[in-house]
């Protein structure tokens, strides 16, 4: 063994090298997105137009917010299939609070978030205490939420036309030119980023995903923290529901199925591993943007819809493969 001082010096050198490399990686993570953007800008004169970019961002917002929540669950090595219809249930309940019960705007919005948290809480309890596989627990919740949305709404949309200002939540522009929905998405991403990397919730999510047993043996109350993590994820589902409702100025009870797959896809394209332990919020945001940009660009180019599917599939393969090459051999 070397003397302590040399060791430290060497250690620090290594650390710096390491830090720089990580930064580089994060910057490069944009590459896929940038290439896609560049391609479409070249291919269509309408693409790189603020109105269109705004459209892309707006299209990213709802799925993106859901994906933020899903990132936490996936970080633990779990999966959340209930984000799509759960979001719908939150929309519907927001509708009940605001349009049917006439509660104040703030209360209604908080209520929507609370329903999201409740969905997450139940998922967490089922996973932690009933020891259900996350796939099953959240699949069941997906169905229950879908059913309840229809039951509660009487299978009819709930309109917010009489709830003053609700639509401004998503459509208003606190920052001129940027719809609030996008602003909310970015703010939520910032919060999610800090939560994942700087709070116990995030740290334990990654730790559980990395080695659940070891985490438990290290004295972390894994069951309790899982409940917390799923609840946090549920809060994002709730937020997505509120934003969705505001964007449509209505709660559409039939919506939602299929969104979970898009959200999970955004997370995985962003480089988060479904095995857990590795997750970044920046990746998720980029993943969500890639999906929305692709869809938009192909539409702008008026590619027939059936070919759009084929193209999206192929581009996803290329984008993720490029990302894998970039990150080296680990697969």
């Amino acid at each position: 063994m070397t003397t302590p001082s040399t060791t430290t010096a060497r250690t620090e050198r290594a650390a710096t090298r390491f830090g720089n490399r990580q930064q580089l990686q994060q910057i490069l993570a944009f590459a896929g997105l940038v290439v896609i953007f560049a391609f479409f800008s070249f291919a269509s004169p309408y693409f790189l137009d603020w109105a269109n970019v705004k459209g892309i961002l707006l299209a990213t917002a709802v799925t993106g917010i859901m994906a933020l929540g899903a990132t936490f669950v996936i970080a633990t090595g779990g999966i959340d299939l209930s984000v799509g219809t759960g979001m719908t249930l939150c929309s519907v309940m927001t509708g009940v609070f605001l349009a049917n019960l006439g509660l104040p705007l703030v209360v209604g919005v908080l209520g929507g978030l609370a329903i999201g948290a409740l969905i997450g809480l139940l998922n967490g309890l089922n996973v932690s205490y009933l020891r259900l596989p996350p796939f099953i627990a959240t699949l069941a919740m997906m169905m229950v939420a879908q059913g309840l949305s229809l039951v509660i709404s009487g299978t009819k949309p709930i309109y917010f036309s009489d709830v003053g200002g609700f639509d401004q939540l998503a459509a208003g522009e606190l920052v001129p030119g940027l719809p609030n929905a996008v602003l909310i998405f970015f703010a939520a991403a910032a919060i999610a980023g800090v939560t994942l990397s700087k709070t116990l919730t995030g740290r334990y999510a990654l730790s559980i995903g990395s080695n659940e047993e070891a985490t438990a043996i290290s004295g972390v109350d894994v069951r309790r923290w899982k409940v917390v993590i799923y609840t946090v994820a549920g809060l994002f589902t709730g937020l997505a529901g509120v934003v969705m409702a505001s964007r449509l100025n209505s709660a559409q009870p039939g919506l939602g199925l299929g969104y979970e797959l898009e959200a999970i896809a955004a997370v995985v394209i962003g480089g988060t591993s479904l095995r857990g332990g590795k997750a970044t919020i920046l990746g998720t945001v980029i993943g969500a943007l890639i999906m929305a940009t692709l869809t938009n660009g192909l539409r702008i180019m008026s590619i027939p819809q059936e070919w759009q599917k084929v193209a999206v599939g192929i581009v996803i393969v290329l984008a993720v493969y490029a990302d894998i090459l970039r990150r080296g051999k680990e697969a």
Partner: protein
Amino acid sequence: MSDSPALLRATGVSKSFPGVRALDDVHLDLRHGEVLALVGENGAGKSTLLKLFSGIYRPDEGAMELDGAPMSPSGPRQANELGISVIHQEFHLMPDLTVAQNIFIGREPRRAGLIRDDELVRRAGVLFERLGIPLDPRQPVSHLSVAGQQMVEIAKALSFDARVLIMDEPTAALTETEVDTLFRIVRDFVSPRTGVIYVSHRMDEIKEISDRITVLRDGRYVDTLPTASTATREVIAAMVGRQLETGVRPGAASSGSAPGADGREVVLSVRGLTTRKLLRDVSFELHRGEILGFAGLMGAGRTEVARAVIGADRSTGAVEVQGRAVRIRNPADAVRNGIGYLSEDRKRYGLLLDQDVVRNVMLSALPGMTRAGFVRDADGRRVAAEMVDRLAIRTPSVTQTAKNLSGGNQQKVVLAKWLVRDCDVLIVDEPTRGIDVGAKDEIYGLLTSLAAQGKSIIVISSELPEVLRLADRVVVMCEGRVTGTLVGADATQHDIMELATRFGTDRSLVTTGDSA
């Protein structure tokens, strides 16, 4: 046993698992200021006993005391709070988290709810400085070698303000230099208010570090002996319940009969093996019926040579098998060419932990155990039962899940897998890691007889006596290069150490620094 208030005491503890009575009315007392060694054969119940102290298991019967007060920790967390710190045989690390994050998991310093990772790194740095561990706290644990991981576990245990330090085979993955460091740490730790329980299969270490020795056999308490006045032979006799001849076997690697390079056909020839990370122009030859030892300090590159040869890592250089140039791109190619590799990291590269002994033992040889495309499980069960007997694997049945076996028995299962495959060239990397003295001898005998049958074996080991005992010739490595080849019979530990430190310092414990 003495009646003075012990620091830590277990009286009449028992613990059963389905099909196994792991502990049966076991006693243990640890006095203040002592290092108590705990020994026993593989599966004797040592790890299980320690897990009672750390609260991972609850005893079925019996009681435990700390300083005369009854204790029954509800889990590792509470054990830590009571001042009991345990380094378990199996690592409990989160590979995706950094070293610092691993050490302080569950104890993160926070400000306004946010974790202060800089403070974590600082504390880890201070800890490493104190312990003399050359690790980067910011490195993910997945980048560490087994030895590196072991050091993290040690640092983690010492990061608590512990009064009782319990170590379950901490040196199994370490070479002698690190063992020296560890012993320094242990001696620093011991004071009149503290004590250490130390589990190891290395008798010389036990002699060196411990004050008394508690012996378990088949889950039962046998005796507690004072180290100073007890001969190693007696300890071993207490462990296995009969007299056992250990030491150099006549005819094994002894003098004149060493086949050496002369005359015998070369079965494996490696020329100019180079990897991006570490290896520089490594060349050696392996002859039919030869046991070739690889020695070196931790991180010298022995494992990397093996991984490069079997195609697990990318490398350049020429490999010839039986005189034919071959291109080995992955371990499957290697096995096809008759080269098998037993990894030093049994958990990661050795075992299907959640499958049973039969499936583990069959894995390498599966294609040979089929008829018309269908796997003959009866063969597998038969072969597994044979191996259980031959290697004395302690398990209630061949359908026991691998993760429920004791560490040493798991190691035997991995070895059994390669014995069943019956490769012409077998590379064994730390083959006796965690294996008890008696069984170690059996395995040495086994390897020697394989060589006598014309198989060729490469033994990578951090235990110099093991290398010296087995090898016909010893290749010594330092910093990724071969610094010399010694004829086993004439080599001494001193010669090897000199070659192994040819380039001065050792390397860091980080092994996969640039990928991953």
